[in-house]
């Protein structure tokens, strides 16, 4: 009897070369939010890779305690940045999560809650339907189970006008066209941060981009992928690729870091799909964070002065997963009067991390408090970041700590600086 045949971790076997890269040096530990909070080897990337291997070799079972240590991973990928040996952790944790969802029966409550999240979050229409009566739900909060209370607490206080915003399908470039850009309008972004999409369109158009925002597009699949539901993620990915292929565009602009990092990996996600493998790779090569696009286009529009002390927060899926750190800073510094403040622990996750803040609330709150404190310490006029999840998380944590912070998406700031110029 072969142990590998039996172990639920067997699907990790093809990834063994990735695990071999890990020399157990521990450089990932201090950048890992879960290790920082819990101090346990099992809750560190090094420990998790060790457990994956032990699982694959049949030395450990997929028991509840083992699964719990994979659940504490935020998927922030700070470990990949810190790793001198070049270990690719993202595919390892994604495959492990898929194995867990396939083999590990979760308690009924947790299962239902996750199903609810996946039934609602990726669908902007369902979110919108839900968004309007949130006011009512808030009023009745005390009557709801704890997990649902949490969902309501974190939900953005979208105004009705936010909820009504729909981005135009085609926005022509101002002046001569420099690029033809597709815009991912997103699911959560589209439902609750319509104004961020509007600002993105205005800034891109002002800099000479024709912006296509096809209404038929749906979720990019990132939430599902990070939660161990790769089949769902692949379904979303195929649909998105199809929608954008029709437009014949130069680049696909993304203003949500988590979406961007997943879309850049579509080639890997659909590698075994003969109909899509090549198309996915081509698509992925066009995916750019909006700040990447803007820094490649020498500014055409002057920025009006904004005397602001700004603390920039690196979204993990932008900084660690996509390596985009320089571009947003350059853009902010292109605005006269802006001072960028150094922030302690800038490489550590704020605790939002996809659905992490919904499924691991205690850890998420602790990380949020830590992040809010370090940001507040710099005495900023404004905190700027590039991911909707981070905005919600930091705002909520700062409010809880009694040190409210103004948190804005970077394109909103750029929009304000370029408007009317």
């Amino acid at each position: 009897m072969d142990a590998n045949e039996q172990t639920p971790f067997a699907t990790l076997a093809p990834l063994e070369p990735l695990m071999d890269k890990c020399v157990h040096c521990g450089f990932c530990l201090p950048t890992c939010p879960s290790y920082l909070l819990l101090g346990k080897e099992m809750d560190s990337p090094r420990g998790r890779i060790y457990t994956m291997r032990a699982g694959m070799e049949g030395r450990v079972d997929m028991s509840a305690p083992v699964v719990a240590h994979f659940d504490t991973c935020l998927g922030c990928m700070a470990c990949e940045t810190a790793c001198p040996s070049g270990v690719k952790y993202a595919p390892l944790i994604e495959e492990t999560r898929a194995a867990i969802e396939a083999h590990h029966p979760r308690p009924l409550g947790a299962r239902l809650f996750r199903q609810l999240l996946f039934a609602v979050l990726p669908y902007h229409r369902r979110l919108r339907v839900l968004g309007a009566p949130l006011g009512l739900a808030r009023a009745l909060r005390a009557l709801l189970p704890a997990r649902l209370q949490r969902l309501i607490d974190l939900a953005p206080r979208a105004t009705l006008s936010d909820l009504r915003i729909t981005t135009a399908e085609l926005t022509p470039a101002r002046g001569e066209q420099r690029l033809k850009v597709g815009l991912l309008t997103g699911c959560v972004q589209r439902a609750f941060f319509g104004s961020v999409n509007e600002a993105t369109v205005r800034v891109l158009a002002a800099e000479g981009c024709t912006v296509h925002a096809p209404r038929a597009q749906g979720c990019c699949g990132a939430l599902a992928l990070h939660a161990g539901e790769p089949d769902t993620a692949r379904r979303f990915a195929r649909a998105l690729i199809t929608v954008f292929e029709r437009e014949g565009i130069d680049a696909i602009a993304v203003n949500a870091a988590g979406c961007g990092s997943s879309m850049k990996e579509y080639g890997h996600l659909l590698r075994d799909d003969p109909a899509f493998a090549e198309r996915a790779t081509r698509f992925a090569s066009k995916v750019k964070d909006v700040t990447e696009i803007l820094t490649t286009l020498p500014a055409r529009v002057a920025r009006k002065p904004m005397p602001l002390r700004i603390a920039y927060h690196d979204a993990c899926h932008l900084g660690h997963a996509q390596g985009v750190r320089r571009q947003p800073r350059e853009l902010l510094q292109s605005i006269p009067g802006v001072t960028l403040l150094p922030v302690a622990e800038s490489d550590i996750c704020c605790g939002s991390a996809g659905i992490f803040n919904l499924v691991q609330p205690e850890m998420s709150d602790a990380l949020g408090a830590r992040k809010a404190a370090y940001l507040a310490e710099t005495g900023p006029d404004m905190v700027v970041t590039s991911n909707p999840g981070c905005i919600l998380q930091i705002q909520a944590a700062a409010a809880r700590a009694g040190t409210p912070l103004v948190v804005r998406h970077i394109v909103e700031v750029l929009d304000e600086a370029t408007r009317g110029m």
């Binding site: 020399v23 521990g26 201090p30 101090g39 060790y50 810190a82 040996s85």
Partner: protein, 484 residues
Amino acid sequence: MSALDSAFLSRLHAAAPGGVIDDPAERLTYESDALVHLRATPGAVVLPASAAEVQAVVRLCHERGVPFIARGHGTGLSGGALPHPDGVLIGLARLNRILDVDVPNLRVTVEPGVTNLDITRRVAPFGCYYAPDPSSQSVCSIGGNIAENSGGAHCLKYGFTVHHVLSVEAVLPDGTLTTIGSSALDAPGLDLLGVLVGSEGTLAVVTKAALRILRRPEAVLTLLAGFPSIDAAGDAVSAIIGHGIIPAAVEMMDRLTIDAAEASVQPNFPKTSAVLIVELDGPQSEVDDLFVTVERVCRQAGAETVEIARDQGQRERIWKGRKAAFAAMGRVSPNYYVQDGVVPRTRLSEVLRRIRDLEARSGLRIGNVFHAGDGNLHPLICYDEAIPGQAQHAEAVASEILQYCIDAGGAITGEHGVGADKKSYMSKMFADADLDTMQLVRCAFDPANLCNPGKVFPTPRLCGEVPGPYRQHPVERAGLGERF
């Protein structure tokens, strides 16, 4: 299952509530530190949240004759935190608070789980830093630094951990909590602190440390020079010292390690046979004066390129290349073995020549990265585990290099420690009487041989006055780890 009985485990839970890890799958992740070929699953892992909990755990172990091993963040390269299968691994990761920063007196007080770099980060706003800077400084713990007497690139000028520790609070192997040393200099009596630092966790478990911090120098100047050969670079080092200059750091890398670093972090080093990094620090006027000499000496020794980093960004890039060298070896070789030996600086060329001959003879590539200022060599022996017998071959090669160091009048470890890995080499460097004398200290601190047993010494010493329960654990069993 754990070899520790359930009565013991329940008392362990009481000693450190919420901090005990006894699930077998969870204990597995503590099998090794950063030296992965030595593994042993600990009988139990405990993560105390206070010094009082550490004390309670040690007391319990003492009472029951159970071995205990302290561990920081598991970054050691000599298996110093290799667990004991019948023992308790005391993880100090949760004792990670900086308790006091006393800028006027240039002192900080920290718990052992604080990382080396955290101290510098914390005191940087006051224009200060913590001097010892091992390559793993972003993750290694101060407790571990104290155990290993860690150095780093800048110890040439600023000394080792022992020169920066003023006092510690420690739990002795019998469970007594005591203070060794004092915040003011020259604590009365014997310098037990001097022997505790570098004792590799075999004398006590440190729960708190008062450390010296330094003022940031006014100027730092880093020079990166490319040489046509290791010998030429070595000549430059001798000439610099010969001119009466003690740089803050002098580091050397050979071509193989340059290429590995390039593949990992792109430091943009010159593509020469050797590079030398020389760092000078101090008052601006002094640095400027000395730099003229250093640059001239490098060119006279045959430097093909000389690059000067004058700002923080350039300097960070150079040091990133140097500090990533070990782990970056993983990019050019499937596996590698890091050796740590010391030779008198004047014997560097000769020893490196022997290493090159060995490389040719063994068929294994050997990268060399070293602290040239103090003769601390780190040969990186590349091998492929998948090729049968090559791992053992690499180990034999590494061992031969140590013999070269001993032959040249050097030492078997400059900073990684003896741990479990090198204890058999101790008798090549020291006579039995020397080792016996060191163990007199061990016996005074830990007569029952429970505190990190099986490390440092090739054969444990029977201390005479051994308490009862100890006899149930024959000394020969202490420290047995599985060798893979």
